[in-house]
């Protein structure tokens, strides 16, 4: 844990959108560090600000949005002050690349796959067209496109959704970025393809050593890829920690709610835990804890004062008054007690038939 190498450091970041004469605070004072080589997953529902946060790292905010406060330091360079597209050129795509949910939005439908990779290659690696083509084919093979040389001249629509996403990943990696942002990269794909793409990104990360930020709402994907997890709610990070800390020892009631409403935990004939209501409107100033109106564990103070981050372990922090020593005794929701044992029961339990080998899991104890 100690002596980790920070490559991106965000402090008190604020992003404001101007919508019809009204100010919408999409990001409300967020701070976090990104460590070299790790995979950080940012979890949150739509409107929590997770995508806005990522866009602010690459200068891709919509024209009515601005970084209105705080700093983003990337290798000693301040990104929060960058305004013009030209200032972003050396960062976006080159050092921080993004893979989006829908591969079609990143590909030009009227140009061949090959020419799109070659273009990026030539721009960022400053090599000849011939060399770029060679490199592009190698890269296509590395992202799992078989017969890459033949498929080089195909158009995006001739590729399946999964293959298109592989190409988007190839383009993102063409300039050897230090950070790869994956914005719901598999949401539009089928589960079997999703699993392959997740594995591909992991494998490439091991080979290339880049750092990955995942944005997702799928806790299964988080469990698959993340080293660390940050949970976002209403424009803020409310809890962050190592992946096992978040799944097995979560401390924020919103994280509890997300975990306990997992349909996998459902028991026949019983209700699933469900959150009522909707996230607060970010047009208004939020007093106290933004989650309070939906919180089963709400206390009076939650409606009056915004909680600070409480340290649970040196790697695990939660922004909730429930961690305050003055809180009376309470129990965490039953649904998430012994989550791991429950999951083992659900996915392995009673598995007495002969096909165990296909779904065998080995259990490492926590390191």
């Amino acid at each position: 844990m100690k002596g980790r190498d920070t490559i991106l450091s965000i402090r008190d970041l604020e992003v404001t959108f101007k919508v019809r004469d009204r100010q919408l605070k999409a990001i409300r004072r967020i701070s976090f560090d990104l460590y070299r080589g790790e995979t950080l997953a940012i979890v949150g529902e739509s409107g929590s600000g997770k995508s806005v946060l990522m866009k602010s790292l690459t200068g891709m905010l919509e024209s009515n949005g601005t970084v209105s406060g705080g700093s983003i330091r990337f290798f000693g360079e301040e990104l929060a002050q960058k305004k013009k597209p030209r200032e972003w050129e050396s960062i976006r795509g080159a050092k921080i690349a993004t893979v989006f949910q829908d591969p079609m939005t990143s590909l030009n439908p009227v140009r061949t796959i090959g020419s799109q990779i070659v273009e990026v290659m030539m721009k960022h690696q400053r090599c000849s067209r011939k060399r770029a083509k060679q490199l592009a084919i190698e890269l296509m093979e590395r992202v799992g496109i078989s017969e890459a040389a033949e498929r080089f001249d195909a158009y995006p629509h001739e590729y399946s959704g999964g293959m298109r996403q592989r190409i988007v990943i190839a383009i993102a990696l063409a300039c050897r970025p230090q950070i790869l942002i994956c914005d719901e990269p598999t949401t539009a794909l089928d589960v079997t393809v999703q699993a392959q793409i997740l594995n591909l990104i992991k494998q490439l990360q091991q080979e290339e050593g880049f750092t990955t930020i995942y944005i997702t709402h799928d806790l299964g994907v988080v469990a698959n890829v993340a080293d660390r997890v940050a949970v976002m709610y209403a424009g803020q990070i409310v809890e962050y920690g190592e992946v096992e800390e978040i799944f097995y020892e979560s401390a924020h009631p919103y994280t509890w709610a997300l975990l306990s409403s997992l349909p996998q935990l459902g028991q026949k004939g019983e209700r699933l835990f469900s959150l009522h209501g909707t996230p607060p409107s970010l047009y208004h100033d939020i007093v106290g804890d933004a989650f309070a109106p939906r919180n089963q564990y709400a206390m009076r103070i939650d409606f009056e004062e915004e909680p600070p981050f409480f340290e649970i372990t040196p790697t695990h922090y939660a922004k909730t008054w429930l961690c305050d020593p003055r809180v009376p005794f309470f129990k965490r929701p039953k649904a998430i007690e012994g989550l791991h044992q429950k999951m083992v029961m659900i996915y392995q339990g009673g598995n007495v038939s002969g096909n165990r080998e296909e779904r065998s899991f080995s259990f490492n104890s926590r390191s």
Binding site: T192, A195, Q264, L339, V352, E358, R359
Partner: protein, 310 residues
């Protein structure tokens, strides 16, 4: 679900659906029993939605039969049967943003079906029915004059459910009703569907792409791949004893929301090359009571062996 006395509500026999020359769905056979939740699980393009829509008579079929309460419904039906089918069979759609008429009030949307067949004696009764439907899905009567865009995704989906419920149906096709919703809202909608099923003795055909979601709400699950149902069994049976290699691959692919399990699982990849159907052709076979699989004779033998060991 007791397996003793099962009343068949919907019955599909040798169904085939073509779009021009392309066969979207073929060799589909299953029954849905009254009061159960039958899930149809598959990936995009597998034909699961097509089957649901054929049941709702939105798509025409090219071969085979669909029966509802013993009456064939995949053909031109008379006005009386049409009215009865609309009342008894309803649908819940995937995308709450796209499935509501944005230019109509909630009052109009929820009472649309009632108006079409004048299923009320007077205006007071209509209003009464609409209010009850709204309350049953946890919305407030004061929402009646609002427009869909004023609601959140979860609320919209509940409006869609109220619109179906007001018809007092017996059978509901729920086409991926939670996949477009935020994770924190999904449980709420699942609970609601479950609650309504208990209160109103509903039968569901639940169409989904995520096996793990379906497990907790389904009585039986059918897995569909490229237009063919490859396996059908009771929910727990399917999870514990998956037979078809595609089912296994699908099960292994779903990310488990548990880092220790998920980070150590092995992927099973299905290519279709597992089968040798050059001479020995596959058929729809019952390997064990209620556990069907699309297999040829050689595979059937192997599957039976597997079961015995278990």
């Amino acid at each position: 679900m007791g397996t003793e006395k099962k009343e068949v509500l919907v019955s599909i026999r040798d169904l085939e659906i073509k779009f021009d020359e392309y066969v979207a769905v073929s060799n589909v056979n299953f029954d849905i029993y009254k009061g159960e939740t039958f899930s149809l699980v598959g990936e995009s393009g597998s034909g699961k939605t097509t089957i649901g829509r054929a049941l709702m008579r939105i798509h025409e079929t090219s071969k085979g039969d669909i029966f509802f309460k013993g009456k064939k419904i995949n053909q031109k039906v008379g006005a009386r049967l049409h009215k009865e089918l609309i009342k008894k069979m309803q649908m819940i759609f995937q995308d709450p943003a796209a499935s509501l008429n944005e230019r109509a009030t909630i009052d109009y949307i929820v009472s649309e079906g009632l108006r079409n067949f004048r299923l009320y004696k007077n205006e007071t009764e209509r209003q009464q029915k609409v209010r009850e439907a709204l309350l049953s899905v946890g919305l407030l009567p004061e929402h009646l004059t609002r427009y869909p865009h004023e609601f959140s995704g979860g609320q919209r989906q509940r409006i869609g459910i109220a619109r179906a419920m007001v018809m007092e149906p017996e059978f509901i096709v729920a086409d991926e009703p939670i996949s477009a919703l935020d994770v924190s809202i999904r449980a709420q909608v699942l609970n609601l569907l479950k609650k309504l099923q208990q209160e109103k003795e509903l039968t569901y055909l639940f169409i989904a792409h995520d096996l793990s979601v379906v497990r907790f709400i389904s009585d039986r699950i059918a897995v569909i791949h490229k237009g063919k149902i490859v396996e059908l069994a009771e929910a727990e049976e399917l999870f514990l004893n998956p037979l078809h290699p595609y089912t296994k691959s699908l099960l292994s692919a779903i990310p488990i929301p548990d880092p220790r399990l998920e980070k150590n699982k092995k992927l099973v990849v299905y290519t279709g090359e597992e089968h040798d159907y050059s001479e020995d052709l596959p058929k729809w076979k019952e390997i064990k009571a209620g556990h069907f699989v699309w297999a040829n004779d050689a595979e059937e033998k192997r599957y039976r062996m597997q079961m015995k060991i278990g």
